[in-house]
Symmetry: C2
Subunit: 642 residues, 2 copies
């Protein structure tokens, strides 16, 4: 066995052992070392770079590594096999994808506002914000020699009296400790219950003189990022909020690669562990710790995620999601409880899953559609969720149609050589001077933060600016020359966004024609999906009344630039609304309100799913969209005018 040492830029190391011939990327995966590999290790994305510090690897040459870089020790880990002991450096740009936990500052009003707004929207449709969890006081007469009713019957009788509901269910978890719990409180207790018209379910029996709290957790499981908020379900107050990278990222950047990994031996379990043990549970602990709230008092969870994510979360085989005829195990299921998955909240906590409506339109979209409120308006609205997949819903109060397109991870910074998630060091906005070609960058982070890479909104700006300044043409090829423009020996052009001296990393930050091409294909996938779906309904883009944009791309998205590059339809800018992470705000409303939960099932049931890959014209549309803004510039009159 060879000893493999992974060294992070901050000096931390992880040691592992491997056999000769093993792929270095596989070794990193099994050692939980986060190396970004959006293509899942087939050598096409070029992101899994590491730098040899000592020892040797058997590495293939690749177009992603120049000769100078190779000489300096740079290798692609997916194209390198182990030959003996070796130490490699794992760059921070890779670890930007790692499961980094962030607990939000709730004193910031912005963090809260988006939830208040979603709630107000749903309430505006007459949907009450109430749920069926409550705390009741149950004060019994203690037993005597003349009153020898057993504990469980004594409790059930009193709960019937207090609630007026006849059928009371005491699960085994309550029975187990009932004797001690009743006696410690001298038969004066509080019960946390779920109350419906037909029955009462008892979660906990607690001392009557203590405050009983009811926590709830809403979670958005994105392919790349996971976010959660902790609520007090009695008051609706938001107690905590956090986010982290999805720990499954090392098994591939997109759902297809994850499903493929899940089919390997132990794969389903590995992917489930990555999301539950490595992502959700640590995040729940962290949020609860920062909110000083015991996780065992979380009695309900709601989860919104795409179809693949919720299948992998449950440890359910997702292969049939990927294989024709693309059949998930479930759209909707009410059978999952925290203890089934080993999630660290109350074991009997019910997990509400936002319903899927197809293999590629999942609970994240139905939850998002709920809070977009497009189902409640006469106007024709388009809801777009820009995630690793792009999903669309179009319609109004009479109908809803949805489809998904594979945009790839470009909107979250994947598939772009200098791309990154919208975290510290990410360039979120760019302007370029037409004459000097010098850029002005807006960078996430504290004052003085150096740029590290481009996040989604920064890429949109960058490509739009390169185009309007004439630096690149409609095909994304470089057509001007200057200090910041370079061409490699194959003639491939690039633009230097920040020179090494100004950048936060160890080399120049550049955007290449390959990156631009990747992004054009991503935005082309979105726009062609919009056109195709609308066409199937005999609509054209100019008939859209409103566009609701959701997703982790960030509130910094410049709608004008997005229209300029041909990603969004060319309609008046005031018709665009950025509604943030609507998957999470939808899960939040579902958790908080049982009527909202029911409405969500109803909205999902009324949504028609359109499988784009079966529409013959989609490919033609897509090819026509792989230009800036489009081969048919008449579709973008305002861009043409400029």
């Amino acid at each position: 066995m060879a000893k493999i040492t992974f060294q992070y830029e901050n000096g931390d190391t992880v040691e592992s052992f491997a056999s000769a011939g093993e792929s270095l990327l596989d070794v990193a995966k099994k050692s939980n070392v986060p190396i970004d590999a959006p293509c899942s290790g087939n050598g096409s994305c070029g992101k899994c770079r590491v730098k040899l510090l000592s020892g040797e690897l058997d590495s293939k040459m690749t177009r992603h590594i120049t000769e100078e870089e190779y000489a300096a020790g740079w290798r692609l880990s997916c194209c390198s096999s182990v030959t003996g002991d070796v130490t490699v450096e794992v760059p921070d740009i890779a670890s930007a994808y790692k499961s980094r936990m962030k607990v939000a500052d709730l004193s910031s009003k912005e963090e809260i506002a988006i939830f208040e707004q979603a709630k107000a929207g749903v309430e505006g449709a007459g949907i009450e914000m109430k749920n069926n969890l409550e705390v009741i006081d149950v004060v019994m007469d203690p037993p005597t020699l003349d009153d020898t009713m057993p504990d469980n019957e004594r409790l059930v009788w009193k709960i019937r009296e207090v609630t007026g509901v006849q059928k009371v269910r005491l699960p085994f978890s309550v029975i187990k400790d009932l004797a001690a719990n009743l006696r410690e409180s001298n038969f004066n207790c509080k019960c946390v219950i779920r109350k419906t018209a037909n029955d009462i379910f008892v979660y906990d029996v607690l001392p009557g003189d203590q405050e009983a709290r009811i926590g709830g957790l809403a979670i958005d499981i994105g392919t790349t990022t996971v976010s959660a908020i902790l609520l007090d379900l009695k008051t609706g107050e938001i107690l905590g909020k956090g986010s982290a990278g999805n720990g499954q990222i090392r098994y591939g950047a997109d759902v297809i690669n994850r499903i493929i990994e899940s089919q390997k031996p132990g794969g389903k379990r590995n992917l489930q562990k990555a999301i539950i043990d490595e992502t959700l549970n640590p995040m729940i602990d962290e949020i609860c710790r920062s909110a000083k709230f015991p996780s065992s008092k979380i009695y309900r969870m709601s989860i919104a995620s795409n179809t693949t994510m919720n299948h992998l979360l449950l440890g359910v085989d997702a292969n049939s999601v990927r294989m024709e005829p693309y059949i998930p195990t479930f759209f909707k299921t009410n059978s999952v409880f925290a203890q089934d998955l080993g999630i660290n909240v109350h074991p009997a906590a019910h997990i509400l899953l936002a319903p899927n409506i197809g293999s590629y339109v999942g609970g994240d979209i139905t939850a998002g559609a709920l809070v977009s409120m497009i189902w409640n308006r006469p106007e024709y609205s388009l809801f777009i969720d820009l995630g690793t997949n792009g999903e669309l819903v179009f319609g109004n109060e009479d109908f809803l149609m949805s489809c998904a397109c594979s945009a790839g991870p470009a909107f979250e910074g994947g598939d772009i050589s200098c791309g990154m998630r919208a975290t510290d060091g990410a360039i979120e906005a760019v302007a370029i001077d037409k004459d000097t070609m010098e850029p002005t960058l807006s960078i996430i982070g504290d004052e003085g933060q150096k740029p590290v890479g481009l996040c989604g909104s920064g890429i949109i700006d960058m490509i739009s600016e390169l185009f309007v300044t004439g630096i690149i043409n409609a095909k994304g090829k470089f057509q001007r020359e200057g200090e910041r423009i370079r061409h490699d020996k194959y003639g491939m052009g690039s633009y230097v966004i920040a020179f090494e001296k100004d950048a936060g990393g160890t080399k120049d930050i550049e955007i290449t024609e390959v990156d631009i091409d990747n992004f054009i294909r991503a935005k082309g996938a979105i726009f062609s999906a919009i056109r195709t779906m609308l066409a199937s309904l005999d609509f054209t883009v100019d008939m859209i009344d409103d566009v609701y944009v959701a997703g982790g791309i960030g509130s910094g998205i410049n709608m004008k630039n997005a229209v300029t590059i041909g990603m969004f339809p060319d309609i008046p800018l005031e018709k665009f609304h950025y509604i943030g992470n609507s998957s999470l705000t939808g899960a939040y409303c579902m958790l908080l309100s049982t009527p909202a939960e029911r409405k969500l099932y109803e909205v999902a049931a009324n949504m028609t799913y359109m499988e784009l890959s079966t529409v013959p014209t989609y490919m033609d549309e897509f090819v026509a969209c792989c230009f800036i803004p489009h081969t048919d510039s008449q579709i973008f009159p305002s861009v043409q005018l400029r």
Copy 2:
């Protein structure tokens, strides 16, 4: 730490480590070495003998060990503390209590007859032998691109169609593997379901071309012995049967000592482990192996046991069962599933617990009362279950009253120096020649089996014979002399049942005045309970029409002798009926038939519980019964006549 070596008579050893000062009995307990300690280690029963082979112990002298025995190395383990490395021999008479597994030979008709008889009795009352578990064929159209219903909905729709029931519940365990299970069988499958008028619960989805079996397990958990039978719930056929000692025995012989042990740190878990991990699961494995039946196909279990046993089984605090006002956590609960307890059958198997009706009248008695059929007859019948506790039910189709008395383990061979369970080597019947005082023994086991000790029925015979031959008087004191009669230096008499040369052990088998006294108190407890309960109803013993005797005492019980010693009322012998282990046959009927299960709840609900300890005259009755047959010999006219 000192090294403690326990050596069995067959040469097997168990090694353990202990600190100086630890009680040897406690070391044996934590090392799972079965040393019989019915008194739970307070020095009163004298059964926890071991023999020093090497090393020393700090041992108290006790009346249970003679000076010769002490010199030969005999010690009571509860009265001995560790001082250093030591090796002790653990006699087989102690290991007779050990969790010895026995799988019954079902080719023997006797083994089956008792179940057939119980079933026929219940059926005779118009109770149908049918349950709600069944296997249905579910043949679906496989999905296509035009028929993309998800797997769970596809299955639910078809089950609705097949069964006509609208509400179908697919638990998470079914959802988890649904994709693979449906595809492996090409959507042609069998489902194991529970079907009620309101809903269907799906246990398993299996390939359509394989046979689907439905196993059920009925268990009697006695304080001393555990028995179980495995059924095919589709046909009612008995597939296997087994019994074993209750692994909790090392925590005390009776329920009170077990409850006390359960209150020590980790005690609840230890007692639960002893019954589940050390007794039930190995027994289930063994029965299933011998029946060639997969334990995962056991979809339902029924358990009959006394109130303490079912509380300890569930890991529920039993202390309030023992402490005034004697309140159990439950009489009846439907909330327990195999996975809650870690029992190795199908995780979703429902565990039907025969209902308790008081702290000391539990599910073993209600189940037994069901199959005694006394609730279905106009005649006044007495049902007696002779276990570690003695329980009685008296009544007819109009009323039922029950009570419990603490008889101690004497009927199962406990508290008797030469006592043992009714296994190989046990003397089950005895006759003594009036003139020669020579005994004739009937021994359980193969031809040539040497006697090891007395089981319950043997003790009854022995005391009756000693009494009618005038060897002992009505107080149980020896009054004749002879080769087999001995007196120790304190004047305590004993009778040698078998000399060492004829015995299966290493010393003479003797019954002493202390043993006789213990047994007289046990039989006195039973008879005084009968008299007290009947008196409270203004009945006398001669008004009893029939007596149904149940319990592990064995079909060998000689009713005439039992009457002679004043254990049972003096009524015509043809009115006595031995009905075997009615706790197990009751559990069997409950498992097999949902109407029988309902009837059992009804019988239990109609049973009045009488707490004997609160009846002022009970103690006087008891004292009067501590003679052979009774201080008032007119109560036993037939004995008086002889």
